[in-house]
Amino acid sequence: MTAWLVRRVAQAAVTFAIAVVLMFALMRLAPGDPLSRVQESHPMSPAEMARLRRIYHLDQPIQRQFAEFVRGVLRADLGTSIEHGLPVTTLLAARLPPTLLLGGAAILLNFTLGLWLGVRQAVRRGSREDRTLTMLSLAGYATPSFWLGLVLAWLVGIELGWLPVAGMRSPLLAPDAPWSRRALDVTAHLVLPALTLSIVTLAGTMRYQRAALLDVLRLPYIGTARAKGLPERAVVWRHAWRNALFPVITLFGLWLPLLVTGSVFVEMVFAWPGLGSLAASAASSRDYPLVMGAALLAAALVVTASLLTDLAYALLDPRVRYS
C-alpha cells in the first residue's frame, strides 16, 4: 500500500509540474505583451509602463521569466494582481471558502438526487419513468449553466420572489445578528446557485448509478436474496445498492473539473463571491497574473481530487493496490 501510495503521489506531482509548464507556455504563446492590453484600460506613461514591466519580469528573456515564475510557484508567491493591486494568493485564499461551500452543496445535491433517481431507473429499467428521467437528465446536461441560472433567477427569484438572486449574504442583515439568522441567510442565497450547478451535472451521476446497479442486479447473490423471500426494497437497497455505490466514487474525480468550470459561470450569474467569478472578471480585465493563479489553483484542485479518488478506491478495493 505504501509503495502504491508513493508512486501515485509522485505521479500526481509530475502531472502538476507538467501542467505548470504547459500553462506558462500557453500564456506566452499569445502574441504581444501581456501588459499591452492593460494599457488600453489604464493609460500609463512610458516610465510607468517600464516600471510595471520590470515588476512582472517582462523585461527579462523568456527563460529568466520562466525561472522567476517557477520560483514563485514553489514559494507560493503568484505575483500581484494588476486589477486589485493585492497579492494573487491573498485574493485566491479569500475567495476559496465560498467556492468550496457552493461546490460542496452542489455535490451533495447532485449525489443525493442522482443516486436516488439512478436506483429508481435501474429498478424500473425500460419503463416510461426510466426513459423520461434519462431524457430530463440529458436535457439538463445540454443546458448552459449560465442560462439555467438566469432563467431560475428570473422565475424563482424575481417573478416569484422566493429566494435572493445575488451575493452570499443579505446586505440588510446586521453582521452581529445571531448565527442561526446568518446561516439561514447564507443558505437562502446558496439554494439557486447550488441547484443550477447540480442540475447540469446530474445526468452523469444518474447514468453511472443506473448502470452500476443493473450490473449488480444481474449477479447470482441477488437471486439468492430474492429466493430467501426478502422484500424487494431490502434486496435493492441493503444487498445490491451497497455494492453498486462503489463505481460511483470515481465520479467525484470526474466531476471536479466540471464543477470548477461550472462555478465560473454560476458564480458570475449569481454574483457569488468565489473563485469562479474572480477568474471570470480577471480574464475580462486582462489581469493575467490573477488568471494564471486561478488556473493553477484549478489544476491543483483537479489533481488532488483525482488522487483522493484513487486513494478512496484503493482503500475500498484491495485489488487496485496490487495491480
Binding site: T15, V21, M27, P144, L150, I158, L258
Partner: protein, 280 residues
C-alpha cells in the same frame, strides 16, 4: 460492410439516434438557410419604439434591447456557433487521432512523453486553458477562436485512440502487414486509422455538444465571438441586463443551445451504443 457505415445504420435505427440526427439536421438547416430569408440580424429598424418588443407575428421571438429581431439573431448566431463547433471538433479529432496513433503504435519513450503531456493537459479544466490565452490575446477573430478551441480539445481523444491502437496492434492483420514489410506510416494510416474511425466518430459527436457549450460560455464572458456579430452566448449576455423587461431575448438563444447540444448528445449516445453494445 465497413464498421463505420454499420454503426451509423444501427444508430439510425435507434429512436434516440434518429431523433437526435433529425433535430441536429433541422437546426443546421435553419442556421444555414434562415439568414437568407430573415431580416438583417444587425439591423436596428427604429431605435425608440421597437426595443424589447414581445414575440409577435412580425418578430416571432420578439426584439432585443437594441430593437434587433431575436429570431434573425438566433439563426445567424447558429451559423457561427455550429461552424465553430464542427470545425473545432474536426481539428480536435485530427490532432487526437494523430497523437493517439503515434503514441500507441510507436510506444516506448514517445508514448510515455505524449501521455504525460495529455495527463497534465487534462488536469487543467479546458475553460481555464482558454481563459489563459484569451486574457492576453488582443482581439480574437473567429478563426483563431476555432483554432484555440480545437487545440485544447484533443487530449481525451488522443488517449482514446491510443487505447484502441494498443488493442489493435496485437491483431493478426497488423502482424500480417508488418510481416509483409509495410512501413510504419502505411500500417498507421491504412490499417490502424480506419479501425479507430468508429470510436473516433463517437468522441467527435459528443465533442460537438461540449464545444457549443464552451463557445457559448466564452461568448457569455465576453471573450468569445465579439459583438456586434451575433452568437448564442453573446445574446444571453446582452439579455442579462434586460432579464425582466425582455426575457425572450435570452430565453430563445438558450433554448437553441439546449436543443442543439441535446440532439448532438442523443445521436452520440446512440452511436456509442451501436459501436460498443456493452454500455446499453
Amino acid at each position: 460492410m465497413n464498421p463505420l457505415a454499420d454503426a451509423l445504420a444501427r444508430a439510425w435505427r435507434d429512436p434516440r439516434g434518429r431523433a437526435g440526427g433529425l433535430m441536429l439536421a433541422a437546426m443546421a438547416a435553419a442556421a444555414a438557410l434562415g439568414p437568407l430569408v430573415l431580416p438583417d440580424p444587425l439591423a436596428q429598424p427604429c431605435v425608440l419604439t421597437c426595443r424589447n418588443l414581445p414575440p409577435s407575428a412580425a418578430h416571432p421571438f420578439g426584439t432585443d434591447d437594441l430593437s434587433r429581431d431575436v429570431l434573425a439573431r438566433v439563426a445567424a448566431g447558429g451559423r457561427i456557433s455550429l461552424a465553430v463547433a464542427f470545425l473545432a471538433v474536426a481539428l480536435s479529432a485530427t490532432l487526437g487521432a494523430a497523437t493517439g496513433l503515434v503514441a500507441g503504435y510507436w510506444g516506448g519513450a514517445v508514448d510515455s512523453a505524449l501521455m504525460r503531456l495529455v495527463d497534465a493537459a487534462l488536469a487543467v479544466p479546458r475553460l481555464f486553458l482558454l481563459l489563459l490565452v484569451l486574457a492576453v490575446w488582443e482581439q480574437v477573430p473567429v478563426v483563431m477562436l476555432i483554432l484555440l478551441i480545437g487545440a485544447t480539445g484533443w487530449f481525451g481523444t488522443g488517449r482514446l485512440v491510443r487505447g484502441e491502437v494498443l488493442r489493435l496492434r496485437e491483431e493478426s492483420f497488423v502482424r500480417a502487414a508488418e510481416a509483409l514489410g509495410a512501413s510504419r506510416w502505411r500500417i498507421m494510416f491504412r490499417h490502424l486509422l480506419p479501425n479507430t474511425a468508429a470510436p473516433l466518430l463517437v468522441a467527435a459527436t459528443l465533442g460537438v455538444g461540449d464545444v457549443i457549450l464552451l463557445e457559448a460560455g466564452l461568448s457569455f464572458l465576453g471573450l468569445g465571438v465579439q459583438p456586434p456579430a451575433p452568437s448564442w452566448g453573446g445574446m444571453i449576455l446582452d439579455a442579462k441586463s434586460v432579464l425582466v423587461a425582455a426575457p425572450w431575448a435570452g430565453i430563445f438563444p438558450g433554448l437553441a443551445i439546449v436543443i442543439t447540444v441535446l440532439s448532438a448528445n442523443l445521436f452520440g449516445d446512440a452511436l456509442r451504443d451501436a459501436v460498443d453494445p456493452r454500455g446499453a
